[in-house]
């Protein structure tokens, strides 16, 4: 796999896996309106994943976007671990979404300056969607954090539990450095300051306490995942694997 393909695949996988997680809310949202909102966000992410996987398959030449989504095993996925975490209760999902949205809003903004025209175009298109997602999730963080004593307690707990998965956003490995040097990739470390500002502003409005950066989970850049990813793939890939080449 060449560098550009792998770099693109990482971005695609996070969108794909989080999209799948959000799709699990379909028909189970706390209200009809919220059910549709979460499904909409899920579909947006699926669209982003699709564009990126199409690009990967074009670079690769041997496979298709579907092939990449449905025929790879756990260790061949490079999504952030935060994207595969269980939905939990609504507050857990909202916190996960907020941390991810605030990161991707910054990441795609930088990626839109990429000298790779396709990545830049996909980033530009995605930013509009992500800004909307961020508005949705940050409003909910404030609503729950600054809601009742119980809702504040619950979402603070969600935040504390998930915090250790945010370290991966800002990692730079050999491939990242190479792509950055080629003016294709993004300097993830550089995003940290803006991300801290965005998240702090929302935490303050939401009366939430920012957790300390303690031990951070890592590994997704090498295809190492939590136990959740295997379970996701067994559902997501079941039909294409059981009935190869099935058509609608």
């Amino acid at each position: 796999m060449n560098d550009l393909e792998k770099y693109t695949l990482r971005i695609a996988d996070s969108a794909l896996i989080l999209s799948h997680r959000l799709s699990e809310w379909c028909s189970r949202g706390p209200s009809l309106e919220e059910d549709i909102a979460l499904s909409n966000i899920s579909l947006d992410l699926l669209g982003q994943a699709n564009s990126l996987l199409e690009y990967c398959s074009k670079i690769n030449g041997q496979t298709t976007a579907d092939g990449l989504a449905f025929k790879r095993n756990e260790r061949e996925f490079y999504n952030f671990q935060i994207c595969e975490l269980e939905n939990g209760h609504f507050g857990d999902t909202i916190i996960r979404q907020f941390l991810f949205d605030s990161y991707t809003s910054l990441f795609f903004k930088k990626l839109s300056d990429s000298e790779d025209e396709t990545l830049s175009a996909i980033a530009l298109k995605s930013i509009k969607e992500i800004n909307y997602h961020l508005r949705h999730s940050s409003n909910w963080v404030v609503r729950l954090g600054d809601g009742t004593e119980l809702s504040n307690e619950k979402i603070q707990k969600s935040l504390n539990n998930i915090w250790k998965y945010t370290g991966e956003f800002f990692e730079m490995d050999e491939l990242d450095n190479k792509m950055l040097a080629n003016k294709i990739g993004v300097d993830n470390k550089e995003l940290k300051k803006d991300w801290d500002n965005i998240t702090n502003e929302t935490f303050q409005k939401a009366k939430l306490v920012r957790p300390n950066d303690g031990h951070m989970m890592t590994g997704s850049k090498k295809g190492i995942h939590t136990e959740n990813l295997g379970k996701i793939l067994s559902v997501m890939q079941y039909i294409p694997r059981a009935y190869p080449n099935a058509k609608w």
């Binding site: 706390p30 209200s31 909102a37 909409n40």
Partner: protein, 112 residues
């Protein structure tokens, strides 16, 4: 096992009852193009104005319907009641001169 709801985790069930009981109803108006009037399209449930706007966007503009959305709390809408229908609307029935049917339209005039 009954209606399947007991299979959902407890907090979700609690949320469900709470939301559907407490959420306010908002009326949604959408302007399809700049310059046209906002048209009533339906309503949404929401806890506050940002949420009402977002829910309206998600529910009513999925197919590129609009360029602007208004949301108004339903309780702020003042409506005439069905009992008033006669006194409100009947008197205009026999006043045909209020309709512009007594003019000869010039050939060039369109859209009237």
């Amino acid at each position: 096992m009954g209606n399947g709801l007991e299979m959902l985790p407890k907090p979700m069930l609690k949320n469900k009852t709470k939301m559907s009981n407490a959420a306010t109803v908002w009326e949604v108006f959408i302007q399809s193009k700049n310059g046209l009037a906002h048209k009533h399209v339906g309503n949404v449930h929401a806890e506050d104005k940002e949420m009402a706007l977002q829910n309206a966007r998600d529910l009513y503009t999925r197919r590129n319907e609009g360029s602007c959305i208004w949301v108004v709390k339903s309780e702020h809408i003042v409506s005439s009641v069905p009992e008033d229908e006669e006194s409100f609307f009947d008197p205009s029935n026999d006043k045909v001169y209020r309709h512009p049917t007594f003019y000869n339209l010039p050939d060039g005039a369109k859209h009237i």
